[in-house]
């Protein structure tokens, strides 16, 4: 556990996490500090583009190989299976009705790309590398959870799906951007990287600080508005579920033989909960589910937990397993 505490303190003392804390505190204190929605949207495009591109560049020398496919399959399976676990856990730990429980479950099967980005940044700080194609895995994990959740609601999820929704889920902006920039990185390789490194490389961490400041503001407002929504059971779920998700991620990752860094990132993806793609899909397909519940859990409980304590914990786990395997 010594390793965990030193990792956790490292993590909590980084400008990234402190910026997030600043945002959270400001929102809890009801400061009027705010970050314009348009700027946050633009930064998220930047982050997705940068992370996808770097992933592509990283594997450009090797090309797409079979490991990518096994990782993709692992991701899809995780995304599809985790909602069932989450749903079961919710029915034990909380009194959510079937619809709300399934909606929440969808979020935990899917992923939070910012948590993933923060994870890659922890890896860099630790001087560890990871499989470049993990960004493609991230993209692949966005959608399957939604289908699982819709099936949970109606045993016949397709009744809630129209053609439009299929397209919206599969061609969701962040999926397209991640995959697209991944391919661009793959095609242009190191040469492309040299051209745009001063934009997507060096300043990346600083930009992420501002983004996490905004995420902190959003999480803090979420916490403030959570009175009356968050029962102790839900709260506990929001902390336990990511750890379960991470464990599954570690398991799946070690089965397919990922590197320690890749193992960590798969755990992070599996632990993280969506707050963009899945809420939008729920709005359309399951409007009777209460956004107050699923957004609060995902944004105000699980995201901060993962960012602060989860990342060092999962890194410990990944190192332990890799150590054990090697």
């Amino acid at each position: 556990m010594d390793g965990f505490f030193s990792l956790a303190i490292d993590n909590l003392g980084s400008p990234l996490i402190l910026s997030f804390v600043l945002g959270t505190v400001a929102a809890l204190a009801r400061s009027d500090l705010s970050f314009p929605e348009a700027a946050a949207k633009a930064i998220s495009v930047y982050l997705l583009f940068a992370i996808g591109f770097k992933g592509g560049v990283a594997i450009a020398p090797y090309g797409l190989d079979v490991n990518l496919f096994s990782a993709l399959i692992a991701g899809v399976v995780l995304s599809a299976v985790v909602p069932f676990l989450a749903f079961g856990l919710l029915s034990v730990m909380t009194r959510l009705d079937r619809t709300n429980a399934a909606a929440v479950a969808a979020h935990y099967g899917s992923i939070s790309i910012v948590t993933f980005v923060a994870g890659t940044s922890v890896l860099t700080s630790q001087g560890m590398s990871s499989e470049g194609y993990m960004v493609a895995v991230a993209a692949a994990m966005e959608a399957p959870a939604i289908l699982s959740a819709l099936w949970l609601i109606s045993r016949n999820g397709s009744s809630r799906m129209d053609a439009g929704l299929w397209r919206e889920i599969l061609l969701n902006g962040s999926i397209v951007l991640l995959i697209g920039s991944f391919l661009i990185g793959l095609v242009t390789g190191e040469e492309g990287m040299r051209e745009i490194e001063p934009f997507i490389g060096a300043p990346f961490k600083g930009v992420l600080c501002l983004f996490l400041l905004d995420m902190g503001l959003i999480a803090g407002r979420g916490i403030r508005n959570s009175r009356g929504v968050l029962t102790p059971g839900l709260f506990a779920f929001g902390l336990v579920m990511p750890v379960i998700g991470a464990s599954l991620g570690l398991l799946a990752g070690s089965l397919i033989g990922l590197s320690p860094g890749g193992l960590f990132l798969l755990a992070v993806l599996s632990a993280s909960a969506s707050y963009i793609a899945v809420p939008a899909a729920m709005r359309v397909a399951v409007p009777e589910a209460d956004p107050g519940i699923y957004l609060t859990l995902s944004l105000a409980i699980t995201f901060p937990f993962n960012l602060t304590l989860g990342l060092p914990l999962y890194l410990m786990g990944a190192s332990a397993i890799s150590g054990g395997l090697s």
Partner: protein
């Protein structure tokens, strides 16, 4: 200048439903509409604000549509089933227009 009677229909709805709503309106024979942003709001499900959300999932938009009085029933018949399960606050008000041929 002569004024003609018309109806102004305003529908507040979740942003991810916007396209479905306007598609339904077009099927109802509506010739035009405009979409206005909504910054924040409050209702039975609590408060929200555009700055609180990443992506538009949390946000609302207001779709405004000027129609001839006689077109109102058909518009409602097409739009209602869609908004019913959603937030979908529909208001209809009388107004007057100058160029009835536009609608």
């Amino acid at each position: 200048m002569k004024l003609y009677d018309a109806k102004r229909v305003a529908i507040i709805i979740e942003a991810p439903m916007q396209e479905r709503l306007t598609d339904a309106m077009e099927q109802a024979g509506v010739t035009g509409y405009s979409v206005l942003p909504v910054l924040a709001g409050s209702g039975k499900s609590g408060q929200w604000s555009a700055d609180d959300s990443i992506g538009r999932a949390g946000g609302l938009v207001q779709v405004i549509c000027i129609v001839r009085p006689e077109a109102i029933d058909q518009l409602i018949d097409h739009a209602f089933p869609l908004v019913q399960r959603h937030i979908g606050i529909i208001t209809i008000a009388d107004c007057q227009v100058l160029r009835p041929e536009l609608f």
